[in-house]
């Protein structure tokens, strides 16, 4: 963060750096350099000091040298000419008897990132590969990779590549691993370093010499290897078995990644490997580092897709700790939902119920929706909790409960009686648009069973002028229409008022078009209206939570141990693959409110309401649009489609 007076500070520093008295006093000189670097890391632009720093580079004080190099590497690209002056000092340092000085010089020579200096760097780098000290060889090997990336189009020097392959046999494990890394970068166009049988076996044999980081790198690169026979494969697997249960999560994850890659044709072996890592993964879930915990949780979610029973007995390990951040709590709840079974359901619901009154509204809402998910299999217990929560009369809880009930009813129509009786009196507590939308949808679907439905709607219609949310207005239109179909005498008047308002006064095109559409639809007669509006109220085929088929490991193995699993938000979709196809054949009549709501809502909603078969619904909508109605409608839906596609790139 540049602060005022930084120019003065730079001028002051320059004066001090060029002061011969300072230069002769080693300690003062070093401290002045230190000040310059401090200013640099605080974000002050100190590039003007470059020439003074070049002079400061020629010193016997290693600490000062290191500091100056930090500076030079940051600003070299701005001063290519002056950097040429540094090269001489650096080349001289490469001859220094002290290996530390040699490696330092070599490293910084290659870190200057100036293509114009390449010709001066090549010779010391070549010498560095044959240096006696391992630390110099380490730097030199990576130096070649840096050099290559400076001029990616230049010819690859076959002699260097050969020498690097030779250095795979270097006694120092870090040099060996660096060779792999460098070759991987230099030979990127050819698909990376060649992994053949002798190299693989050599690397595997020396795996134990490397530290955690080296092992991870080797294991990652070995993923490209294809064993020639099954015997060889099993030899490799048994060699790696100890790493699979390593106390270091990175090694464990890298080994499992390699296992999954090697055994892609042997699902039984892969499943056995997943069983093996259960212990280490659970341990990582209890790690002191929150971030490690989170990473482990996200990967456990992946594993559960193929082995739903993997963690069943350990469900208590996923109870939320009091001080854990919300993002960990939410992942834990997602895992807990997957682990539910007849034995632990009472315990689990009891625990989740405790989270519903959490101070953090997001945690509370996540807990409520987790209970809703469990409700698909154990609806009675869950509905009891959910209706109990309505008694708390808190806005965010009521909203979450109504949304959850809306989702639950869609999957379990048998819950509708309880839900209908619970809905009375909710509308005063609902403040956010999503909760109100859910309430309206429920009233539309089960309006004939909720005695107070027309009064609730009337309240909404009276306040429509001050309504800010587009979604609520759209939902209100449809709900009034549908309620009109089943209770015409009570709703006729308010439907008229609503349509009048929406067509005459509403400024938003979507709402206006929708109202026009309904208006014209009513002109077509009550039969037509019925056909369009009375869609399905539920879809039990979306299935219950337990007893879902396990996914093959290959579906997710590619994303194991990458950043991908950490990024997905919301409940991940498990086992919907099979149902996707059936939904593709849905007739246009299937079109109803949930899908439109899902398409219009934010991504979170989409996942929540209709987990996977979205794209096919989209197809339905489009087909429906093509076959049936007016262009106003097409305009409307296509707007929603755009929103949906941009949010859900896969």
């Amino acid at each position: 963060m540049p602060y005022l007076g930084s120019e003065d500070a730079v001028r002051e520093l320059r004066r001090a750096l060029s002061n011969p008295n300072v230069q002769s006093d080693q300690l003062r000189y070093r401290n002045t350099v230190l000040k310059a670097i401090r200013a640099m890391s605080q974000g002050v632009d100190v590039s003007d000091l470059f020439s003074e720093m070049v002079k400061a580079c020629a010193t016997v004080d290693i600490v000062q040298k290191k500091l100056v190099y930090v500076f030079l590497c940051s600003y070299a690209t701005l001063n290519p000419e002056l950097s040429l002056l540094v090269i001489n000092t650096l080349r001289k340092d490469c001859q220094d008897p002290n290996p530390m000085v040699r490696s330092l010089a070599l490293r910084n020579m290659t870190n200057l990132r100036l293509p114009s200096l390449v010709e001066y760097v090549e010779q010391p780098l070549a010498a560095g590969l044959r240096d006696r000290a391992a630390c110099v060889r380490r730097v030199a090997v990576l130096g070649w990779a840096k050099l290559h990336n400076l001029q990616p189009d230049a010819e690859i020097d076959a002699a260097v590549v050969n020498e690097l392959y030779g250095l795979l046999r270097d006694p120092d494990p870090v040099v060996m691993v660096n060779c792999l890394r460098a070759l991987e970068e230099i030979l990127k166009k050819e698909g990376g370093v060649a992994i053949n049988k002798p190299i693989t076996h050599h690397l595997l044999n020396r795996l134990k010499e490397s530290d955690v980081w080296g092992q991870c790198e080797v294991l990652r690169i070995l993923q490209r290897y294809h064993p020639q026979s099954e015997d060889e494969l099993f030899d490799i697997l048994s060699l790696l078995d100890a790493s699979l249960v390593s106390p270091h999560p990175p090694v464990m994850a890298a080994t499992l990644g390699l296992f999954l890659g090697l055994c892609s044709g042997l699902p039984a072996v892969s499943l056995a490997a997943l069983e093996r890592v259960r212990g280490p993964l659970l341990a990582a879930c209890g790690s002191t580092s929150r971030e490690t915990r989170f990473t482990a949780l996200c990967h456990i979610q992946l594993l559960l897709r193929s082995l739903p029973g993997l963690m069943g007995a350990h469900y208590k390990r996923f109870f939320c700790g009091y001080a854990e951040p919300a993002y960990i709590k939410q992942r834990k709840m997602q895992v807990l939902v997957e682990l539910v079974n007849d034995e632990n359901v009472a315990m689990l619901l009891d625990e989740l119920k405790g989270y519903c009154t959490d101070v953090n509204p997001e945690t509370a809402q996540a807990a409520i929706s987790a209970i809703g998910r469990i409700g698909r299999s154990y609806s009675d217990r869950c509905l009891e909790i959910l209706t109990g929560l309505l008694g708390l009369k808190q806005e965010h809880i009521t909203s979450a409960v109504v949304q959850t009930m809306c989702d639950l009813v869609w999957v379990c129509p048998q819950c509708s009686d309880t839900v209908c009786s619970a809905l009375e009196g909710c509308e005063e507590m609902l403040q956010d648009s999503q909760g109100r939308q859910a309430l309206l949808w429920l009233l539309a679907a089960y309006g004939e069973r909720v005695s107070s439905a027309p009064y609730t709607l009337e309240g909404f219609i009276d306040r429509v002028r001050s309504e800010a949310s587009l979604g609520v207005k759209m939902e209100l239109l449809t709900t009034t229409m549908r309620l009109f179909l089943c209770r015409p005498s009570e709703t006729q008047d308010m439907l008229g008022r609503l349509l009048h308002y929406c067509i005459e006064e509403e400024m938003d095109m979507c709402v206006r078009d929708q109202a026009l559409l309904y208006y014209r639809l009513l002109h077509c007669g009550i039969e037509e209206t019925h056909k369009v509006l009375h869609g399905q109220r539920s879809d039990p085929s979306l299935g219950v939570l337990i007893g879902r088929p396990a996914e093959p490991i290959n579906q997710w193995a590619y994303s194991f141990n990458t950043l991908e699993p950490l990024r997905q938000a919301g409940f991940h979709q498990v086992g919907w693959g099979a149902s996707v196809h059936s939904h593709f054949q849905i007739s246009p009549e299937m079109f109803n409110r949930v899908q439109v709501r899902a398409l219009a809502g934010p991504l979170k909603d989409i996942h929540r309401v209709v987990p996977k078969p979205l794209l096919c619904y989209l197809g339905c909508v489009l087909r429906f649009v093509q076959s049936a109605l007016e262009h106003v409608f097409i305009q409307d839906v296509s707007v929603h489609c755009c929103i949906h596609l941009s949010l859900n790139p896969d």
Binding site: L34, P247, T562
Partner: protein, 433 residues
């Protein structure tokens, strides 16, 4: 591979910034800070993306430790473990981890980063290797503390207190031992974290213990060290040893440098500790605790809440009980049993914080809290609880693990001091009402 590493203070000040591969400019630091401060609670903040660049960050010592990478296939385990290890190294070298210590030692940290990572590839994080390369001396900030004075007895007499290592003794830079000469010390800490859920009827629903044996070594030259655990120590359910009170853990993992050849017969761990801090052994124990949980709660809620605690330990310090209260609570009146306790109503968290600085073992404390709640409904009582206890139990391990001996061989020429400390923390101690 890692593209950049930077450290930010919680206010977003740039403390350290190092670019390894030149793939992105330094302006991404501000981008990161904007993203991380704009987060709402429900987004997982560990990984964030900005264009092609992915930020992975951890929080340690109140600072953001961030690594960026351009390849989405990078292992999150590796990057997070690296950032944690790097912050541990900084802590070892600087003595403590804070904005101030990082600011004062930035030259040292740049030097460390330079040796630890080259071109985005992690080279080494072993303090044994690094000590040969790191030249900068640490600048440590020593706040004036009365605690140091209290260690000096009257007229230099040996007091009871001076035999106990002060809690701050282990937070100093590892390299300072070089010139301070005589102070070659070794700390062996057994740290256990409990996460317990106790049901409303006093039934233990869940009890997990995560334990660690940590060595912090300030020896300039390290010799072999032998750590003897309880002889009755057993791993897993089936295997029980000896006749006495067995110490059982479910799972046990050791640092890769630990030699286990004497472990099976005598329960002795052998290792050559490197300078700085390292975790020698990790273990966990679920559900089957050897002793009853240390705290019990006997609550009575009658449109006002109150409770009694009955501990079964010899002493606990810094106990804090958090009792959630109904929304709409306005004020609190309290009756506490001793003056050093305090309780206050935190409206923001909707909870009462009851602080008990010292809790003598075997005693029972009671408190009566009367709340004034506006708009109290019968279901408001659902919002009371669960009670969360935060505490520290010094000189105690819940699992019963003890260190029998700690021997250095060959015997050090200089007098070395060995400290063994036990502590049990509450990770999450929840008592349902």
């Amino acid at each position: 591979m890692i593209s950049q590493v930077f450290i930010l203070s919680s206010q977003g000040d740039h403390l350290i910034y190092k670019d390894f591969r030149g793939e992105a400019g330094s302006d991404v630091v501000s981008v990161f800070y904007e993203k991380v401060t704009a987060l709402t609670g429900d987004q997982p903040p560990v990984v964030m993306s900005h264009g092609d660049l992915h930020f992975v960050h951890v929080r340690q010592g109140g600072l953001y430790w961030v690594a960026t990478t351009t390849s989405p296939g990078s292992s999150p385990f590796t990057i997070i473990e690296f950032l944690n290890r790097f912050s541990a190294l900084v802590k070892d070298y600087c003595g403590s981890l804070s904005e101030k210590s990082v600011q004062m030692n930035f030259a040292l940290i740049y030097e460390l980063l330079d040796e630890v990572v080259d071109y985005g590839y992690i080279q080494t994080t072993s303090s044994d290797v690094l000590k040969n390369f790191i030249q900068t001396e640490a600048v440590s900030s020593k706040p004036f503390s009365l605690f140091d004075l209290s260690n000096v007895g009257f007229f230099g007499a040996e007091t009871q207190q001076s035999k106990v290592a002060p809690s701050s003794a282990a937070s100093r830079p590892i390299q300072s031992s070089r010139e301070q000469g005589g102070r070659s010390e070794i700390f062996l800490d057994v740290i256990e974290r409990m996460s317990v859920v106790i049901g409303s009827k006093g039934v233990v629903l869940k009890a997990d213990v995560e334990g660690e044996v940590r060595v912090k070594c300030f020896m300039p030259s390290c010799s072999e060290m032998r750590i003897g655990l309880n002889e009755e120590f057993s791993i897993g359910k089936s295997q029980l040893r000896g006749y006495g009170a067995a110490v059982r853990v479910d799972e046990c993992r050791f640092h890769q440098n630990v030699h286990l050849d004497e472990f099976h017969s005598n329960r002795v761990l052998r290792l050559c500790p490197s300078q700085g801090e390292q975790t020698v052994m990790q273990y966990q124990l679920s559900d089957d605790l050897p002793s009853a949980p240390p705290f019990r709660l006997f609550p009575t809620i009658e449109r006002d809440s109150g409770g009694r605690y009955s501990p079964r330990v010899h002493a606990a310090i810094n106990v804090c009980a958090t009792i959630p209260v109904p929304k709409g609570s306005v004020s609190l009146s309290q009756e506490l049993s001793s003056p050093d306790q305090s309780a206050e109503l935190k409206l923001q968290n909707r909870a009462i914080d009851w602080k008990i600085p010292r809790f003598i073992g075997g005693t029972q404390l009671s408190a009566l809290f009367k709340l004034e709640v506006s708009g109290l409904s019968p279901s408001s009582l659902m919002e009371v609880g669960p009670v969360v206890l935060v505490f520290e139990l010094p000189q105690l391990t819940v699992s019963g693990l003890q260190i029998r001996f700690l021997r250095l061989s060959p015997v050090q020429p200089a007098p070395s001091q060995r400290w063994i400390r036990y502590v049990t923390h509450s990770d999450s101690y929840i008592l349902r009402l």
